[in-house]
Structures are given as C-alpha cells and as structure tokens.
C-alpha cells in the first residue's frame, strides 16, 4: 500500500466493466479453486475444532547466549514433530512462533497428558552398537542374531556404507592392535579393551544366559518388525530403555530403503556430544560430519569404537538413535575418542541434518511448557457458533444502518461487502492447505471487526460523493471527482490498519497471530474490493436513472443532501428555510 498519491490516472473510470469483470473472474477462480482442491471450509483451529494446543518456550541456557536461534528452533520443531506423530496422532502440527516459541497443535482425540509429557521433554539421542541389521520388511524366518553375526571380522573393514576414517589426533589412547577374536555376538568388546573396565562394556553382549528370554523376545520383535509401515515403525521403539537392547528402524544411507536393526544398550549418550559440524573435506571432495565429545563422552566413545572396529559387518556399526529411530549407522574402523568424523555419501543437506541431530541430540534447547489448552469439540463448536451468530448480527446491524442512512447507495455497499466476504472466505479456505492457516476464535473476531473496517471505506467514499453532490454537481462527475480524494483517504487509513495488523502478526504469538492475520488479509482485500469493485460499480450505477436523477431512495437525492439545482443560491436564503432549527 502506498502513501497517498495524487494525479494518478483514475482507475476504472473509463472502463468500469473491465475491473468488474476482472474481480468477478478472480472470485470465480478462487471459488473454483476451493472446490477443486476439495477444501470448501476453512481449516479450523484447535479452539474451534477441539483438541489440544501446547505452547513451549525455549529457555535460554547459561553459557550459550545465542542458543535460541532459528536453526535450533527448526531442529527442535523437527524432533518434536517426530515425537508427536510417534503418539499416533494424525495431522498434528508443530510450528515455531515468534523467536522462541513452539506451538504444538494436536487435534481432538489424543491423550493430552501424554502428549504434553512427550513434547516438552528433552530428545533422546544415543549411540548404540548394532547387533543386527536387515532390510526393513518382515523377515519370514526369524533367524537368531548370534548365528548371523559370527562372521570374520576382516570382511567388515571398509565395506560399511558409512566408512569411518578419521584418526584421532594426539590421543595416546589408540587402543592396541585389536587382538580380540571375533566371538559371536560382539563379545569381542570385552577383551578388546585392554585397560578399561567399563561397566557398560560388560553389559553390551546381550546373550547373557539370564537374559536369553529377553533376547528371544527381541529377536521375535525384530522378525515381526516391518519398517516400511509408518505406524509400527514409530511404535516399535516406544518404551526402549537406554540400558536395554532394542529393535529400531532407520533409513539406509541412500535414504531409499528402510533397514531394521537390533541395537545393543546405549554406549554413549547424546549429551556427551559437545559439538558437531558438517564440513566439506577439500582433499576427498566429500561432505563429512565431525564430532567432538566431552571428556566422559570421549572415553565412552573410544571404548565403543575400540570394540566395534574389531567386529564384522554389520556389527562394526554403531547406530545413532534419536527418539528411537536410527538416523545414521556408521561403521567403525579405528578407535576414536574426543574427535571423530563420520564420512559417507553425504550431501550438504544430509550432512547438515546429521550434524544438527548430533549436536542437538539432547535437543538444541530446553523448553518450558507455557500453556496447555484443551478444548472439547463440543465447546469449540459452541464457540464457533457464537462467533458466527455474533458476526451475522453485527453484519445485520451494519447493513440496517447503511440502508437507513445511505438508502440506495447501501446496495453498492452490500454488494461490496458480499464481494469482500466471498474473497475472504475463499482465501481463508485456500490458505488452509497452502500455508497452514487455521481459523481460530481470534481470527473469527478479526473477521467480524473487519466488517467495520471494510464498511468504513465505503462510508469515506459515499460521503465524498455526497459532498460533491452538495456542491451542486450531477452524479457522474461527482462520482469521478470524489474518487481520487476518497481513494487517498482509504489508502492512508487502510495502510495504517495493515501496519497495525502486520506488527501484531510479527511480534505476537499464538492466538493473537490468527487475529492479526485475518485483520491484515481483510484490510488488503478491502483495498482490492474498493478499487476493483466498489468504484466501478459506482461508476456504472451513476449512469442509471435511479441514481443519476437523485431518486428519493437513492441516497443521492440532491435535495436531501442540501444541494439545490440552481447552483447560485445563497446560503443565507436557504438556510433558514431548509433548516429552521439551525443553531
């Protein structure tokens, strides 16, 4: 919208029909689009449709002043989205709002309490040794994993999909030559570690006699697991504890096929990772992901890599497990500690993704649950109904007022309001699937308030026209002369309105945004309607006898407006006659 401009060619003056035809076509197109897209009603927000809305706010962390940034927020949204969908919710939406808020909207029928616990808690990232790996479909015969894993260790070297290369620099910890023999089921680890007595390490080998029942169950689960099915995929890892082995799904490195895994107990936790970056390796010309561990993490990591490097594929891999999903499963060829890298067929994107997950595995940020709103569908329906009734009554009042005051002119106002309503409704409906716009209660309020704003523009124009008629002009020139001045006023004031809406939208969160969005949208539409609909319609109607002759009911009766056809009347003569009660 522009500052007031003068002397622009008067739009639509010559060809009112064109503008009208144009806007009618737009209306038809939008309505058609609405039906074609199959969305004939606007998407309703949680407060109208029923459901739960949770607002989380990122806490700024001591020592990390810039932790709350867009990248971190986006990562958090991704993680939370996975979790919410892990609850078996369909159409849940997770969005950032403002700088540091995440709003989670969960449609009706979900366990709100569970959802809240899930979304607010820290993401769980673990490094777990891979005990078994298969292509993700259900395997017909469950072959116990020990039998499979007893391959020769050498064959494993260098043929992992994700090959690990980096030597740890300056750590004297390079575990001595892997003397460990490849005993089945990764048991090598225990002796692979010369001087370590890691309790975890002794736990790693699963087929502990006492745990054989658990192992059986694991194998059974593994056999039954079908990773190509989204539901089972999210379900399978639901209750896995870090200290137990688990089955999980993950995409293969090319991202095309699903693989399923049996994973050992967690060896390293996500919070042990202090830094991770995606780096382009100039020498090799590939993307790699570098890792840095905390002191404790480095030790654990060197333990696990020492164990793993002696294993044969697929057991020389560790799975990076985020919230139960294997996001990556690099294989290991050397012992690593504080600094490590993962190489593979990364693109920049996938390297970035993995780096994000690794560095923020313990979630980039911690969140506070700020508000939880649960609305039953019944209540939402009531509110929507009340809002619509209120809107209808408000509209009716406006119409009555306009008809009483402007008589025939109100026809133009009504048609314009109608055009505005059609455009608003169609856009709202289409914006649902397009940008995720959801009509919530404040948005309904915004739309109702906008009735007033839209009507204001007509009033500004009508009053201008009437002023011109009062000057003694006949209608056609009056309509044209009134337009540039009314146009300027409308633009200026609509701009202010729009500014208010835009500022509201940008700085606020949650419900307020819906309101601001509707207000901004309707303000823009107001301009469009006034320019392309109201004005041309006015031009056309000004040619009609009813209006041009100033019919009593046209709202433009010069007599009523106080203009007298013989232009030269004196004020003093008319005033007392016309208005005896004048002050």
């Amino acid at each position: 919208m522009a500052a007031p401009k003068k002397g622009r060619p008067q739009g639509g003056q010559g060809r009112p029909g064109r503008s009208l035809a144009f806007i009618l076509i737009v209306m038809v197109a939008l309505t058609g689009g609405m039906f074609l897209s199959g969305h004939t009603t606007p998407r309703l927000g949680i407060d109208l449709a029923g459901g739960t809305s949770i607002t989380l706010q990122a806490k700024s962390q001591p020592g990390k002043p810039n932790a709350v940034n867009k990248a971190n927020m986006d990562t958090a949204v991704n993680i939370i989205e996975r979790r919410v969908n892990g609850l078996g919710v369909s159409e849940a939406e997770v969005q950032t709002q403002g700088d540091d808020n995440i709003v989670v909207n969960i449609p009706k029928g979900t366990n709100e309490k569970q959802a809240r616990e899930q979304v607010g808690s820290t993401a769980q990232l673990y490094f777990r040794p891979v005990l078994k790996q298969e292509v993700g479909a259900k395997s017909p015969d469950p072959s116990p994993s020990p039998s499979e894993s007893g391959k020769d260790k050498d064959s494993g070297k260098d043929d992992g999909k994700k090959d690990d290369g980096k030597k740890d620099e300056g750590s004297g910890e390079k575990a001595t030559d892997p003397s460990a023999s490849a005993t089945p089921q990764g048991r090598a680890v225990t002796d692979g570690l010369k001087d370590e007595k890691d309790p975890k390490a002794s736990e790693t080998p699963k087929p502990d006699p006492s745990a054989s029942a658990a192992a059986d169950k694991l194998n059974k689960d593994f056999a039954a697991l079908d990773c190509s099915n989204e539901k089972t995929r999210t379900k399978v890892s639901e209750n896995a504890k870090p200290e137990d082995p688990m089955v999980a799904c993950g995409k293969s490195s090319d991202g095309k096929t699903w693989l399923k895994y049996i994973l050992g107990p967690a060896a390293v936790e996500g919070k042990d990772v202090t830094q991770s970056k995606a780096v382009f390796d100039q020498q090799r010309g590939i993307w790699i992901v570098t890792l840095k561990f905390s002191d404790g993490g480095a030790k654990k990591f060197s333990d696990i890599t020492t164990k793993l490097k002696t294993q044969s594929p697929p057991m020389n891999q560790f799975g990076i497990v985020l919230d139960g999903d294997v996001v990556s499963a690099p294989s290991v060829s050397t012992t690593l500690d504080a600094n490590a890298e993962i190489s593979g067929s990364f693109t920049q994107q996938s390297a970035d993704d993995l780096a994000n997950i690794l560095s923020f595995g313990a979630l980039p940020l911690s969140f506070d649950v700020q508000s939880v709103q649960t609305v039953t569908a019944a209540m939402g329906g009531d509110q929507l109904e009340a809002g619509l009734i209120a809107g209808a009554i408000g509209l009716a009042l406006v119409i009555i007022y306009l008809v009483l005051y402007y008589r025939g002119l109100s026809l133009i106002a009504l048609l314009s309001l109608l055009a505005s309503a059609v455009l608003t409704y169609a856009l709202m409906t289409l914006l649902g699937p397009a940008i995720g716009f959801a009509l919530n209660l404040p948005a309904v309020c915004g739309a109702i308030v906008a009735i007033g704003i839209t009507a204001d523009s007509f009033i500004v124009y009508f009053e201008r026209v009437r002023d011109e008629v009062r000057e003694g002009r006949t209608l056609r020139p009056a309509v044209e002369r009134a337009w540039p001045r009314a146009r300027r006023t409308i633009l200026v004031s609509d701009f202010v309105s729009f500014l208010a809406a835009a500022v509201l939208y940008i700085v606020t969160v949650g419900k307020v945004q819906g309101f601001a969005f509707t207000l901004g949208l309707t303000t823009l539409l107001d301009v469009v309607v006034v320019f392309l609909f109201t004005k041309p319609l006015m031009t056309i109607l000004a040619r009609k006898k009813f209006f041009a002759n100033g019919h009593k009911w046209s709202g433009l009766d010069p007599k009523r407006l106080g203009a007298k056809p013989p232009l030269r009347r004196s004020r003093r003569a008319t005033a007392p006659v016309d208005h005896p009660k004048e002050a």
Partner: protein, 382 residues
Amino acid sequence: MSKLGNLGARLYRGEVGYDFIGKRKMWYGVSILITITAIVALAVQGLNMGIEFKGGAVYTIPKTTATADQARDVAKDVTGHEAIVQKVGKDGLRIQIGGISPTQADKVSEKLADEFKVDVKDINAEKVGPSWGEQIAKKAWTGLAVFLVLCVIYLAIAFEWRMAIAALVALIHDITITVGVYALVGFEVTPGTVIGLLTILGYSLYDTVVVFDSLKEQAKDITKQTRWTYSEVANRSINSTLVRSINTTVVALLPVAGLLFIGGGVLGAGMLNDISLSLFVGLAAGAYSSIFIATPLVADLKEREPQMKALKKRILTKRAAAAAKGDSAEGGQTSFEKDEPQDTVEDDEDGETAGAGSVVGQRRTQPQSRGRGRGRPSGKRR
C-alpha cells in the same frame, strides 16, 4: 434520518458546527482529568490480571449438574487455592484457579471429572505457566513500541510531523483511557484484551487519519489567503468530517457490539468477550480522541509556526479593520472584495466561523465562479 442527512449537509457547508478548536482547552482538561483518573485507578486498584498472566488453570465444563459451591470445594481440596467459579451459559461452569502448576492442574481436571461425573475429555482446560504472561506482556509492549514508531514515521511522511505527534498523543490517550476503564471496573485482563488493545491502535489511528486527510487538503493553500487561520480551517475539517467520523465509528462499533453482547453473552467469559470489550471501550475512546484531542493539538502546534502566526496576524488585522469599517452591517459584505469581513462578523458569534471558512477560502482561487458574494455553498469548484 432525513434530519441527519440535512445535518450532514449543514455541517459540510459550515452552517452548523461546533467550535472544537476554540473549546479545546476544555476538552484537553476533560482528557487530562480522565487520564489522571485512569492513572490513579491503575495505581490504587491495579489491573485484574487473568490466569494467563499469573499462571494457573481455567476449566470449563459445558454441562454439569454441579453447583458453583461444589466446584469451589473440589478445587480447594485438590489445590489448596481458592477458585473463582462462574456460571456459563445454561448449565456450564467456569472454574479458574490461579497459581497452580500444570501438574497440579492435571489432578484438578481428573478430580473434577470424577466428582461431577463427566468425562475428562469433556472438560476444557487451559493451563498456563507463570512466566507465559510475562512473555505475552513483553511482546505486547514490543508490539506497541514498534507500532507507534512506525506510525509516527509513516504519518510524518504522509502528512507532517506535527500530525504524527498529535496522533501519537491521541493514541497514548486512548490506551490510557482503556486501561483506566479496565482498572476501574475490574474487568479481567487476558491475552484477548491485549489483542483488542493493540487493534484499537490501528483503528483509532484510522479515524484520526480521516480527519487529518481532510485537514491537509483544506489547508493546502492556506498561506495564500487571508481569510482563515489554521485553527479555523482545522475546525472546519473536523466538522465536515464529523458525519464520516460518526458513521465509521458507529459502523465499527456495531459488529463489535454484536460480539460483545451476543457472542460473549451466550458463552459467558471468553476470548470473544475479552477482545470485543476492549475494542468497544477503545473504539469509543478513539473516536473521541481523534475529534477532540488530535486535531486541536495539530492546530496548536501549527499555530506556532512563524508563517501561521503571520497569517493569523494578517487576518486579525484585516478583521479588525473590517469591523471598524463595516461594523454594524452584515450588509458590509458586498462592499468588500472577497467577502472576508462579512463572514467573520456574522459567523464569529456562534462558532460557525471555520465552517464557512474553508469553502470561501477555496472559492477565492477562482473568484469568477461565484455569483455574488454570498454564493458560498456552490463555491467549491475547481
């Protein structure tokens, strides 16, 4: 209605009018009084902040046979906090408990469901952490500041800095009044209220802009005439846009009133009510301020300009001369070129001065178009 129509015409022509500018001191006084009242009320009573700002929970049970007392007891049992319980609609209850954690809030829902034999899923709950309100408030203030700055910049460009300042003062005035009403009456302040308040800003400005726009247009060539002072032109602008201001305000208030009394009334307290209440109060304040505060302020500021001072001086001298010469007579008008004196003489008494003024002023540029000196109403032709 027809009377109203005529009134419009007369206002337009300046046949009737109210001397907004002349009586501005009085209205400034009224506004200062209101503002002081608002500030005192705010200081003494403070605002009744909703749970969104304090932390706590609100439950709405759409249908229950339970009474408010029962609900209060249950809430007290579980949380140890006093609850505010309201009837909503026919047989619904709205239970508000401040200062409890979300975990406690869960227990309350369960207990309520248990106690009143409704499904937990049928209870609407809004649970808010204590720091949420701080954030909302912070954002609201940021929004307010950003908006005000942008508006001042925009108005300063589209109009001029004096108008921008006057509009700013009027806006702050509106906010104060609205907040004052909230403090006085004790309405609950919720995010809905904040939304409403921020919306008012845009709306109040909308009104102001309409008047300013007319003022700018009418004062365009003001220094090229010696008939009307800036203040008189300003007064004329207010009067001629009065119908428009009233109409736009009424039309804006009607849907809001619909929201407030019908939408809110059906459901009891709620978002609809909160927004529309603050809108209602704010819109009224906004209409008032754009007429009685903003434009007179512009006139005040403008009259301090040297050229406007000079203009005023010239006009006063001229009028004095005219009064001396053709004193007794309105009849004097014919003898003066450009009609100034006669208008002054006759209009000054009843505050119509400025109203007639700009019409005449405009006509001056094309004197040939007038019939006799009195043909003012038809004079505006370009």
